[in-house]
């Protein structure tokens, strides 16, 4: 494992040592390790974890990243042709979501931001569900699988607190489950991020927090977000282990996620993983990143992207080649197209859907409002049907 220290710190008392003063003692030292196994060309930098020698474990990771990228491109195309609302691309960050989610168990719970469909697809969220969400339909968050996973979280970093609470519930009941939360680099500036981490640490709750550091919070670069050398070190203040990983090296991401999940499951408390990557696309389809960052820099970052890296390594293992690549491209296109068809064939939500899940039972005070909405509903297909799954 290539493990240089990303940051090395020593806390000092504010009074500097002088000839006459001997009161200073160092009360804590810490360092943040950066973990990477494969270089950008897919060459091992040293000994690899066991799973990285096993194509049967690596190929599904590659397939999941490829599916994510195929889905991403299709979602943008749908948005550009007026068939989808605003969409947040995960282009370039596929290894983080796939690497972490593939280390989770079904019974664990995911608390994503709005850019983690890589993780969600691995968790069993369907392509048509994700498209329904981005297409403006709450039914997209009623996952047929992943029933305990939280939906996309748009208010920044709040999901870290929800995950900490869920982790506490698992601990209290003695269940071997882990809550996993994703956020972005910008979100690490929010109090909710620290508060959630701090609560989980005090409770020694089974929580893994993943910062997908794609270097950009819309137009604000990582350098303007914090003066801290790493985002991983923000864990230290909460008494949490923080580690930085090359987020474009899925071997490293998966390895670190496995360790953090195993630790949490065994009662070892939370871990913060900062995964370094780069947002190769715009913030969302409503953004034009060319306004605030140099396209040449983005082009350079393509040489670090995660799919090529793993593919090169798989080829070296003798586990991958052009035929398999072509077959995978075909499979992913079919899967995505089937999802798109299911999405486009979904009848619109009924007018009554606004009222149906506001409370477990619609309060009497809202009945008249629902009836008013029904009375004035546009006469579109499905609008007047009773159920919301029509």
């Amino acid at each position: 494992m290539h493990r240089p220290a990303a940051a090395l710190f020593r806390l000092r008392s504010s009074v500097r040592r002088t000839e006459t003063e001997i009161a200073m003692t160092t009360v804590v030292r810490f360092q943040i390790d950066h973990i990477r196994f494969l270089d950008p060309q897919g060459e091992p930098l040293g000994p690899l974890p066991d799973f990285a020698h096993d194509p049967a474990q690596l190929v599904p990771l590659y397939r999941a990243m490829y599916l994510t990228r195929t889905f991403d491109a299709k979602a943008i195309a749908l948005q550009r042709t007026g068939k989808l609302g605003t969409f947040a691309s995960a282009l370039g960050q596929e290894a983080i979501g796939v690497g972490v989610a593939s280390a989770m168990r079904t019974e664990d719970a995911l608390f994503p931001s709005y850019r983690e469909h890589a993780a969600q697809l691995v968790r069993g969220v369907r392509i048509d569900e994700s498209l329904r969400y981005w297409g403006g339909d709450e039914r997209g968050s009623d996952f047929a699988e992943a029933r305990h996973d939280f939906p996309n979280c748009v208010p920044i970093a709040t999901q870290v607190c929800h995950a900490a609470g869920a982790a506490y519930a698992f601990r209290l009941r003695g269940e071997p489950r882990v809550a996993v939360s994703f956020l972005g680099d910008g979100a690490s500036s929010k109090g909710d991020f620290y508060e959630g981490l701090n609560f989980a640490a005090v409770w020694q709750a089974p929580l893994v927090v993943v910062v997908s550091n794609n270097q950009w919070a819309i137009s604000v670069p990582r350098s303007a977000q914090t003066a801290a050398a790493t985002l991983a070190q923000k864990a230290i203040a909460a008494g949490v282990e923080g580690v930085q990983v090359d987020g474009n090296d899925i071997v490293a991401v998966h390895h670190v996620a496995r360790q953090a999940l195993a630790k949490a499951r065994a009662g070892g408390g939370p871990t913060l993983i900062e995964a370094l990557s780069y947002r190769l696309g715009d913030h969302t389809t409503a953004d034009d990143a060319a306004r605030y960052r140099d396209p040449a820099v983005v082009q350079e970052q393509w040489s670090f992207e995660p799919l090529t890296r793993l593919r090169n390594y798989l080829v070296k293992l003798g586990a991958w080649g052009p035929d398999k690549e072509e077959a995978l491209a075909h499979d992913c296109a079919e899967t995505v197209n089937a999802g798109v068809e299911a999405y486009l064939a979904t009848p619109p939500p009924t007018t009554a859907a606004m009222f149906e899940h506001l409370f477990a039972t619609l309060p009497a005070a809202l009945v008249a409002q629902r009836d008013e909405a029904l009375r004035f509903a546009p006469s579109r297909a499905g609008a007047q049907r009773g159920g919301d799954h029509g």
Partner: protein, 326 residues
């Protein structure tokens, strides 16, 4: 049956429900070893353990945020914000998440949490300790907002709130915590949510209020009674969703209505009730609806707080105005 005050009734209801349902956990600042700064959770940690009665770090957003995660994963958290003036950092979680988790997931995930917080003035508390934020909360779709006005209603409504499958904001008037005692049977019987309680029958006018202001409102009804005016007094109790049927029924009989609340007037719940009376009860009205409320000022520090709070005199004056109208 025992004579207890409102804060003891809260404690009693929490203890009853924690004993009945293992999923109930209580969390907040100073609620464990200390039993809460108002003693609303006294004895709970000793009885149910630190695993179910959690002294949290001092961070309001995370108190509510973690309670949401707990609730979605099958617990029934009852979280406390120490004073409602400290609720605001948690509004993001309340409004964006607790109130809409069920809707966002089409019922896949629910959020059965109760958020308790003391509210209102009148106890000479420091700055930011006397807020009346109910209208902010009641404006939020998906939230229930409840405020008890007596020990018995605190006990029964809190039990109902904990058992409700959706988030409930439970506002406890600090001024009532120790103002009076009442016989409360610790039988685990909940009171219904979403309905008003008619505290006193009357034929001449309807006084509508909630929380601590019912104390002054009842006193005003006594003054009016001495003058031969029979005022009906309604405790709204659940501020959202609002039981207008009870209020409309009363006003249909009395023709006159005075709404009394401690919170500031503009966009307060009094305006909502008055608007509903105009919508659906206009032809019953014999006089314009009157509101007696806190002023649209910052809640003053303790020297002036009783000039801010609606007085018996102001309520009686408003009542007389409606009586003189026709």
């Amino acid at each position: 049956m025992a004579e207890i005050n409102l804060v003891e009734a809260v404690d009693l209801a929490l203890a009853f429900e924690m004993a009945r349902d293992d999923a109930v956990v209580v969390l907040g600042e100073d609620i464990g070893a200390n039993g809460g700064v108002f003693r609303a959770t006294a004895g709970l940690q000793q009885r149910f353990g630190a695993g179910r009665v959690l002294d949290t770090p001092l961070a309001e957003a995370a108190i509510v945020g973690t309670a949401i995660g707990m609730a979605a994963m099958g617990l029934k958290p009852v979280a406390e914000i120490q004073f409602s003036g400290f609720l605001y950092p948690a509004l993001d979680h309340l409004i964006n998440h607790a109130a809409r988790l069920r809707n966002r997931t089409r019922g896949r995930l629910a959020c059965p949490l109760v958020l308790r917080t003391p509210c209102g003035g009148g106890i000479h508390a420091p700055e930011h300790h006397s807020e009346s934020p109910e209208a902010i909360l009641a404006h939020t779709p998906g939230l229930r907002v409840v405020m008890p006005s007596s020990p018995a209603r605190a006990y029964g409504l809190l039990l109902a709130a904990i058992r409700d499958p959706d988030p409930v904001m439970f506002l406890e008037p600090t001024r009532l915590y120790r103002l009076f005692r009442q016989d409360v049977t610790d039988d685990g019987e909940a009171l219904p949510l979403d309905v008003c309680f008619t505290l006193r029958g009357g034929t001449d006018l309807t006084l509508v209020s909630w929380g601590a202001m019912l104390h002054e409102t009842q006193a005003a009804a006594d003054v009016l009674a001495a003058e031969g005016v029979a005022a009906e007094v309604i405790d709204v109790a659940t501020l959202k969703p609002l039981d207008m049927a009870t209020i409309l029924d009363s006003v249909a009989r009395t023709g006159r209505c005075v709404i009394v609340h401690e919170a500031a007037r503009t966009a307060g719940l009094g305006a909502e009730i008055a608007a509903n009376l105009a919508d659906e009860g206009l032809y019953s009205l014999l006089a314009p609806v009157q509101r007696v409320t806190g002023y649209d000022t910052v809640m003053p520090l303790s020297r002036l707080e009783y000039e801010y709070l609606p007085s018996v005199e102001r309520i009686v004056a408003a009542a007389r105005k409606t009586l003189e109208a026709s």
